[in-house]
């Protein structure tokens, strides 16, 4: 009786965005035009052009970064920080974006100390390392690795395979955990930047409540809740308050 061979088929994943070549050319032209405006010091026109790109549905870290630069030069600190943050979301390990974001933050009036909790710093570092897709992809890789090694363990004897399976499986579990965290953070955490010069933050959703403090342009905060035209926001130190929706823009 002949032994039938079991064949393992690994799926091939293709990650290619589908963009029509025609609009691509227009977009690239607009992008270069915007860059030229920036070079000539016409920051407001540059801002307009970059926004046209965004209106077309383009979502690219480079565009956000350049728009952030244009806003910074046009002395709109809040918007600059907003777009640097948007850029960083798409390209979390980009040095230029990080440098400019940190530089812009020097001009923000409110100096908010970030959390000093070591474990949360550690978690933030890991979660800020990559995008949702990067985390998903890495998890998938280790998932495939684990299953293939698992299959191999059925048919081949040897410590090496078993050990690599253990390592692969552990990494898969860890990555799965971080991916879930990253996904939930990306979908639940709504962050925003103050884009008006000053905003008064109240203890409740209305001006009749006690004025708690005043936030300034460029202040980054987390949106916890919304009611009518107000957001309940929180700052890293646990400070909470309500501010009008018009004062901030979501990242």
């Amino acid at each position: 009786m002949p032994k039938p061979r079991f064949k393992i088929i690994l799926p091939i994943i293709l990650l290619l965005g589908v963009v029509s070549s025609n609009s691509q050319e227009n977009s690239l032209g607009l992008f270069q035009k915007a860059n030229r405006f920036y070079d000539s010091g016409n920051f407001n026109s540059a801002i307009q052009s970059y926004h046209q790109l965004l209106d077309k549905g383009i979502k690219e870290a480079t565009v956000y970064y350049n728009l952030g630069n244009a806003y910074f030069k046009a002395r709109q600190l809040g918007k600059a920080i907003l777009y640097y943050r948007k850029a960083l979301k798409l390209a979390p390990r980009d040095k230029d974006i990080k440098t400019n974001l940190n530089f812009s933050r020097l001009f923000v009036v409110d100096k908010i100390k970030s959390s000093t909790n070591l474990s949360s710093i550690f978690l933030d570092k890991i979660l800020n390392w990559g995008t949702v897709n990067e985390f998903t992809f890495l998890t998938l890789l280790f998932y495939l690795g684990s299953t293939s090694l698992g299959i191999a363990v059925f048919f081949k004897r040897g410590q090496i395979i078993k050990r690599s399976l253990a390592v692969c499986l552990a990494l898969f579990v860890i990555l799965l955990f971080f991916s879930v965290m990253k996904i939930s953070r990306a979908s639940k955490w709504q962050e925003a930047v103050v884009t008006v010069p000053t905003v008064e933050i109240y203890s409740g959703h209305g001006k009749e409540f006690t004025l708690q403090f005043t936030g300034h342009e460029g202040l980054e905060l987390k949106i916890e809740q919304e009611k009518d035209d107000w957001y309940l926001i929180s700052l890293p130190q646990g400070v909470k308050g309500w501010l009008p929706k018009t004062a901030v823009e979501q990242i």
């Binding site: 393992i8 088929i9 480079t62 001009f107 897709n133 299959i151 000053t198 300034h216």
Partner: protein, 607 residues
Amino acid sequence: MFYRTAFLILTIIFLTVQIGTAQDISFSASVDKTQVTVNEQIVLTIQFSGNVQNIPLPKLPTLNNFNIYSSGRTQSFSFVNGQVSNTATFNYVLVPTATGQFTIDPAEITIDGKTYKTNPITITVTQGASTPPSTQPALKPSTPSKTQTTAASGEDLYLETSVDKKRAYINEQITLSLKFYQAVNLLRSPDYTPPVLTGFWVEDLPPQKQYYEVRNQRRFAVTEIKTALFPTSAGKKTIGPATLKCLVENYGALFNKDPFKIIDPALLMRQPQEKILTSKPVEVEILPLPEKDTPANFKGAVGRFSLNTSLDKKQTEVNQPLTLKISLSGVGNIKSLNEPVLPQLADFRIYNSGSSEKISKNNYLVQGSKNFEEILIPKAAGKFKLPPVEFSYFDLSSRSYKTLKSKPQEIAVLPGAGYAASLPSTLNELDGGVKDINYLKTKVKKLGKEETLLYRKPWFIALQLLPLLALGFSWRYKNHLDKLQTDVVYLRNRRASKLAKKRLETASRLLSEDNGKEFYSEIAKAILGYLGDRLNLPSASLTKEDLNRELGFKKFDNNQINQVLELLDTCDFARFAPASYEKSEMESFYQKAVSTLVGLEENWSGN
């Protein structure tokens, strides 16, 4: 501070001795006592002061009922506030010669053609003590205690304290008056110990008043010092006694020794005598401020105030300072006023640049204004409304709290000279000398649009099942392989139908070859082999009884078992009693065997 000033003023006053007013001429007469017995001495003091260079002797009235002795003249010069004051005191000793009420007529003095008169003084002379005055002093000529009581008695010098009100609120002004009554001359400036004023905020109330007051027919020079007291806590308080240590001329010693030896030069040396004056302590009751309706920003101000604020400019740039002046004025304890509550100004750095006071004490009421200066440095550009500055105080006239609010002001803050202006000074350390943002990114391969996240794509989710399925299949296959190797029952079970099928195929071939004997033998092998494998029994030794029993255990119905047994019987019969093999009979038997095996296999798989 207050004590020292008070002491200094007192010192000056006593040194110049009873000046009426420095500018004007004052001319007065007084006696040390108005009630005397016969042969007791009265000291008449006639005092002249004024900006006069040479003071002539005053002209004494004719005194019929008194013997008059002049006891000398003292003169002093004072130079106060550019005013020269020349004071001369003429002392006379009067010894009444008769009893009754006598009036000492005014003395007169003429300066530059102008005549000045003193006030008349009434003196009552009684019969006096039984003890003749001449004998006792002779016995105890120099007992100081004796002389002290007879001489400058409490009547000559008084120290009195009084307050304008006995009940006051915390921080309400109480005016304390300290009056020093003086009917005799002092040899030198007195040592003054001010009253103990614990529990009060003390505010000096100049000017000092000097005037004459007639008490019990005697003329006293009164020095009055007023002090404003602001109680700091509630409850009963005692304003402690003030003491004054003075040296007075010992007239008693002078005269009582021997009235007839007045001219003795040794006795003309005045023997000083120490006198300690103590005022009575004064009790006051301090009421606490009402607790009801106390404003949140009340900081203890009591009185009547008004609030005013002003900004030095309405428009500025980021980091360019503004000055906010807050002025509080009114009646009350100005010095202790706390700064009014500043509104919340998160957009400004606020520095207190100090306060200044202007205090006037008109009508002995502490009043004035206190100015606070705040430096506001805007942190961000924009239009800001400076909310009102609030100040609360306890109004004494209405006995209620009042809150003052200034007018809100608007400030326009323009953006500064640029980011550089607001750069932290430690930037170089912070960012390794970074002065500007990094340049644009210009290299771009393509501009991607927003895409559905990987984990949300249906094909991605579906893909997750594939490795799991593969894993499941391989697990099952692995199990199968393991059983084949280790489990005979499993192996025989697995191969039963396959072998039966093979044998039936052989039987079918033999049928077509017309080999009847082999055909039946092969069918029997197929059935017995199949059942042996399935039941895991050796097929060679299977008996009908065994089959009947075993198949019964496996819950096959009798019909099926009988069919099997019937088939086996037919085979045995055909094999061991060979006759003619009918082809049609063989074919129908083959069909029957196949259907029986199929039925068995169905039953087995179904189990």
